[in-house]
């Protein structure tokens, strides 16, 4: 057998090579959605095993990496679904209770006006490329409640629609919207506190 990678690729699917070539990229993709090293490693393993089982269905139309990432997406959705399903209905109700505390509603007074009005974060384009901002952003994303973070990831990082999420998780559209609201507001509040009065764009 030739050792030229192109030849090997043409001859047969090689999970060992997939691991070598795409393992880190797949892991990074999973880690940014699951925020847990062990869970990310598990879904990468499941993905490569599933890809090996389904190797004859790979048409070669998409790149191998795109094909593997597509399988990984499904594995991540399955994983989050399982995790959310394992939490009880009561948990979901508590998580999606719009009146409950957890740093969202103490932002407003009884008439719904800001107690701590949002601050000016400066030029958004500059913030997006500012390491300090990115670092704080990642820190805050990891500090969301797991169920909030997971459903938020399904919506904004896996690209599922609200309808798909509700159906797969067996929760109502309103619950889903409230959970996403709480996730976004939690993320915003965390960044606001860490921002602490300095302009992102002025930081190194």
């Amino acid at each position: 057998m030739s050792n030229d990678p192109q030849d090997i690729a043409a001859q047969k699917p090689d999970p060992g090579r997939w691991l070598q070539d795409y393992g880190d990229a797949l892991f990074r993709y999973a880690l940014r959605r699951l925020h847990n090293t062990a869970h990310a490693e598990d879904v990468v393993q499941e993905t490569l095993l599933a890809a090996f089982q389904a190797r004859t269905s790979y048409s070669g139309r998409a790149s191998e990496k795109t094909w593997l990432t597509g399988i990984l997406k499904h594995k991540i959705i399955d994983f989050i679904r399982k995790q959310v399903r394992e939490s009880t209905v009561d948990d979901i109700n508590a998580l999606s209770d719009v009146a409950a505390g957890s740093g969202v509603d103490d932002l407003f007074d009884a008439r719904g006006h800001w107690i701590h009005p949002p601050q000016d974060w400066g030029n958004p384009v500059k913030a997006l490329h500012n390491h300090q901002f990115i670092e704080n952003f990642e820190h805050c994303l990891e500090r969301l409640k797991p169920a909030h973070a997971q459903i938020f990831a399904l919506k904004e990082l896996v690209g599922q629609s609200i309808d798909e999420i509700c159906k797969e998780l067996g929760i109502t559209a309103t619950n889903c919207s409230v959970i996403l609201y709480r996730a976004r507001m939690g993320l915003r509040r965390c960044l606001e506190i860490r921002w602490a009065g300095t302009n992102w764009e002025e930081r190194p």
């Binding site: 691991l19 719904g112 996403l180």
Partner: protein
């Protein structure tokens, strides 16, 4: 008139991709004309969404490269598991 709290929720709903009736959009607009705090909120929420997308899509290992690669142990474990699967399937084939 909508309260700031209501505006926050509606802004979040619009990011969900939910269709907002024109009447509701109009009420949000009227509120935003008069409320600087909620104007900032909208800009912050847009920035957060852009940051999330960038975080999800960016290929480069920006901040902590060492934390975003498979550990040697994990690689070895997965490799071993894949080899098993290959052996299993090779053993199955003659029987088919």
């Amino acid at each position: 008139m909508l309260s700031c709290k209501e505006v926050c929720y509606i802004v979040s709903e619009s990011q969900d991709g939910k269709y907002l009736p024109w009447r509701e959009r109009f009420r949000v607009r009227v509120h935003l004309i008069m409320c600087k705090a909620c104007q900032r909120l909208v800009r912050q929420m847009e920035l957060l969404r852009a940051a999330v997308r960038r975080y999800g899509e960016s290929e480069e290992q920006v901040l902590h490269p060492e934390q975003e690669t498979l550990s040697d142990e994990a690689s070895a474990r997965i490799h071993e598991r894949l080899r098993q699967a290959e052996n299993d399937s090779a053993n199955d084939e003659p029987a088919n």
